[in-house]
Amino acid sequence: MIQFKALLIKELREAFRDKRALLVALSFGLMAPVMIMVMSKFAISQAVESPEIYVKFSGAEYAPKLIKAFKDENILAFVDVPADEKRVWQERNVEVIIPDTYAQDMVDGKPIDIILRADYNEKSLGAPLRRIKDEIRSFSLAIGYKRLLVRGIDIKLLQPITLQQQDTALPTSNAMMISLILGLYLMMGVFVSGQAISIDSSAGERERNVLEMLLCQPVSTLKIVMAKLVSSSLIAAIAVTLMLSLTTVSVSFVDLTKIGATFSLDGFTFTALLMLLIPLCFLASSLQLFVAFQAKSFKEAQSTVGMLIMIPAMVPVAMMLIDDKPSWVSWTPITGQSLLMEDLFKGLPVDWLAVLVTSGITIALTAGLVLTIAKRLTSEKVVMSLS
């Protein structure tokens, strides 16, 4: 115990005095809440407001009422585009072509073809095109209804069935976007925050020739690895806690009610999230130590350990894309936590069995890695690569 205490104190002293590594660890925690706030505000404004759309009309003079209806919905003519947005709308090139027979056909009651020409694959045009289509449809319907009314026909006849949609999602589910970003950030935070410390205490120590001296001391390699693991996991856990606390504060500045959503990290969610993430911090650190001890140099360790960030970045995204998930994914590390976090954010009841199983498997995997590293440190291969 004296030995472990000494090892741990030394690791923590080194970690906390390594200002740059510490800054990297904590900056991620500080950055995330700000990013989440800015991104949510932006997304809400996109969802709620209907910004101006500039369309190249041809034949506008044949259908002044239609143009007026467009104008009421903020769909304007390209000639009126302000200078700073001109280039954007020039590139988007949305055209509405009204035939010159419009007025006559309208009087004759003939069908009229209005052409909407644009790049339908362009993502940024999704909302504008939808709004233009909706507007034309409702304009057309309004005229059709009037024609029927004039002929003495109840327009309700046209709607034998009306669909009533009832959304069973809880109000918090609408905050999906925030929870998605936060989930991703938390996972990344777990992996990024302790990374510099892990590399420094493994590959760094070997490069500075202090590892050999340590391996010559009467202390088991298991204790050495454990001390290093606890130290870098602790830094990661601090960063994640910081991230969560600050996010709680920053989200309160965003008016989510505008999009009919609520999002709050209450005491329960906060604790449950930490319970999920802290075992992951240990797994992440043990993976980093494992990879870094394998590397031949500090530089190699930096690049190979850096690759590990792909795991937390890809897994939650993959989880979202797969609709029919196999049942084991709710137990395996990272995927399990990812799904449980999603439930927590949605306000669904927590599946405690899944929490226990996932955390258990995560801890078991960490223990396996620790034992492997400890064993490898006693091997001649490692000693030979010291010099």
Binding site: A6, K10, D18, N209, V219
Partner: protein, 248 residues
């Protein structure tokens, strides 16, 4: 006491096999300073690494105070004070913290530990360095910190790999006096060096290693007599059977 018996060790590469130790045997007794000499690549570091339990011998054994290093490497390391060939410092720790760390690894604690650390800093004349971070220390200062951490737990056996390189005259003298004092107290000291005068002045017995084997052993005087030379340096060159050692 350190007993090395018939050590064999080969390193097998994809292409070739290097025989680093080829039946090396010697004994470093308690109450004596034993010098270990050998040209570069003679197998000294491999021998010492086997002694620390970092490498496993293909054949033969190393026994420290009656304990075989293969049976219980941790118990052996507990009895050793090691000054390695290559060493580094924890640059974000102060000299005191660093020595304290190694003292704790050897199981020292409380007032005992504090007194031992203060004593070793006083003995090596490095009280002024104690609370400075080791980054930026000169070579001599770094050596002193490493020495302090090797000696702080007052081990029964010392293994010092060229401990005087980079030390100034005063510090070298301090170290020599220190070693002499430990010798009188009955400690076993295994000491490697390339400075022949130092070996001649300090060591009770000298072991010469060449090509992974024991080339000769005896007191410095015996070795000179054996080679028929007046100076240990000449005797050394003659006994290892080449001039290569001069360049070392």
């Amino acid at each position: 006491m350190i007993e090395v018996k018939n050590l064999h060790k080969s390193f097998i590469d994809k292409k070739n096999t290097v025989k680093a130790l080829d039946g090396l045997s010697f004994t470093a007794k308690d109450g004596e300073i034993t010098g270990i000499l050998g040209p570069n690549g003679a197998g000294k570091t491999t021998c010492l690494r086997t002694l620390y339990g970092l490498l496993k011998a293909d054949e033969g054994s190393v026994i420290v105070d009656g304990i075989d290093v293969l049976d219980d490497p941790l118990a052996v390391r507990k009895r050793l004070g090691i000054f390695p060939d290559k060493f580094g410092l924890y640059e974000r720790l102060t000299a005191y913290e660093q020595v304290d760390y190694f003292a704790s690894l050897h199981g020292m604690q409380g007032a005992n530990k504090k007194a031992a650390i203060e004593q070793i800093f006083k003995d090596l004349g490095m009280e002024e360095l104690a609370h400075r971070k080791t980054v930026g220390f000169s070579q001599g200062q770094r050596m002193k910190v490493t020495l302090a951490q090797a000696l702080v737990h007052q081990p029964k056996n010392f293994v010092l790999d060229e401990p005087t390189r980079g030390l100034d005259v005063m510090s070298t003298r301090v170290l020599r006096n220190h070693l002499a004092k430990f010798k009188e107290k009955g400690h076993c000291i295994l000491f490697s060096s390339h400075v022949m005068q130092e070996v001649a002045a300090l060591c009770d017995r000298v072991i010469i290693v060449a090509n992974g084997k024991l080339a000769a052993q005896g007191t410095p005087q015996e070795l000179c007599d054996l080679a028929g030379e007046k100076l240990l340096e000449d005797a050394f060159v003659k006994l290892i059977g080449s001039d290569e050692g001069v360049a070392a």
